[in-house]
Symmetry: C2
Subunit: 279 residues, 2 copies
């Protein structure tokens, strides 16, 4: 068990921020990353569809021998975590609880802002996770759907991105949040644009680091952590456009991910039973 | 045959511009519209995947009794038209040739600009279609991937959109094109932003009107045109989020589309044979 890989999945390339944090904090662990580039983005889709896609990918990663799964997509973590847990036999964690915990630790005035995709914000997942820790915290949540496209298309730092950030975030500045959860794995790419609008007194919470810490601790407590010394082996799988994944991935990580394997989507569908009708 | 509907499909909501033009110019024709909202956008995907999705939808529309199919998506028209034609028994037209013909008629200086998604521009489909009519025309083509998200999220007319348009289009202005093909069904929503950057001397070609004219003429020449007098019956199908389709659709059309039916994606896959291995 110990030397089996950790599986990480996202709707696309954004979860590489979690991959990177995990590769740095747990260098002995082999990682298998799956980006659903043939069907991204998830943030505009329904719970029904996000659950269906997520269960297929979790099934695929379990079949690859993964000992532990990380749902690195905020939309899938918000809407499909319980369904993924029910469909595989290994432990699964999402990115919402770690991000919420880090935000609660960081806030001084008890007012936290949350930004994410339409699906994540509509789900109320961060509100529930924050209130489960401290019910007295005030939360202001805003969907920022254009941020994903701006990050993917390399518009970080451009004037258009600043204008979009002002439009989405000025309400949060006025509301007086002192902490802002970047509730989408793409948003760290726009960190400087977001920070410029929010101002120097607002702390930005990027859950990737926190998720990596939680995964590392959890593996140790399960006694499933790798103890080998040789270099870990990382694998990348996508459902479409491996070259595009590699080039956008380099923008995320600053280094090359390779090789990137293509998984046939028809085959992918056989890794999960059809979703039950009560979803 | 005459009273069977025309099928129109797009990766999402953008093809409603073609639906609208057809409903206006051929009011006796019933229309069945399919938006692949569970898997859009197509413009960032590979030929392999666009062919697979397009053949499934064409199979679905043929099974609904459609007498004629319109591929209203520029990306699918660019990359999957021949494969769709080979997979159904009814006539199929795409949006590239009609748009190219309209642009060739419009240009005075023989220099046409083409904008579209990454998939459409990379395919070279407009260049081939324009050169098939007039090989001497000079063509400048630019991918504008952010335009789809800006149109979908209601950013038409906003300063950020103007900045993005300047970034994408200033090269075309400098190059001296006198005609610009809006090679994506979403782009007519940003027409005023695009026109403001291109200036009053550049004509914008929105292929929807031209496609509607070609379809009307073709049905008459096949003797498949509807001759009934009662109101035509329109149907809308999507692969996810029917409410979102209805609300974004209203932004496109200015009127409500209803009812919007949800099609299960697992079922959709059975409407096409697996794509052949040589794609």
């Amino acid at each position: 068990m110990k030397n089996r890989p950790i599986g990480i999945f996202d709707s696309g390339v954004g979860g590489l921020t979690v991959f990177d944090a995990l590769a740095r904090t747990s260098p002995a662990e082999s990682l298998v990353y799956f980006g659903d580039t043939g069907r991204y983005p998830y943030g505009v889709r329904s719970k029904r569809v996000i659950v269906e896609y997520s269960r297929q990918i979790a099934g695929f990663l379990e079949r690859q021998g993964c000992k532990f799964l990380v749902v690195a997509c905020n939309s899938a973590s918000s809407l499909a975590l319980e369904e993924v847990r029910a469909s595989v036999s290994v432990e699964v964690i999402g990115v919402i609880e770690p991000g919420a915990a880090a935000a609660v630790r960081a806030t001084r005035n008890g007012h936290i802002g949350v930004i994410g995709t339409e699906a994540t914000i509509r789900s109320g997942s961060y509100t529930r996770a924050i209130h489960a820790i401290r019910p007295d915290i005030k939360i202001s949540a805003v969907a920022c759907p254009l941020f994903v496209a701006l990050a993917e298309e390399g518009f970080a730092g451009k004037p258009a991105t600043r204008l979009v950030a002002e439009e989405y975030l000025s309400g949060l500045v006025d509301a007086g949040v002192d902490t802002l959860v970047l509730g989408c794995t793409h948003y760290p790419l726009l960190k400087s644009d977001i920070a410029a609008v929010m101002g120097p007194r607002v702390g930005l919470i990027d859950s990737a680091t926190e998720v990596a810490r939680v995964v590392g601790n959890r593996l140790v407590s399960l006694n499933h952590h790798s103890e080998r010394n040789e270099t870990a082996d990382h694998q990348f799988y996508v459902s479409d456009t491996p070259e595009r994944f590699a080039s956008v991935g380099k923008r995320f990580l600053g280094y090359q991910v390779a090789p990137v394997h293509l998984v046939d989507m028809e085959a992918l569908q056989h890794f999960a039973e059809p979703a039950s009708s009560d979803i």
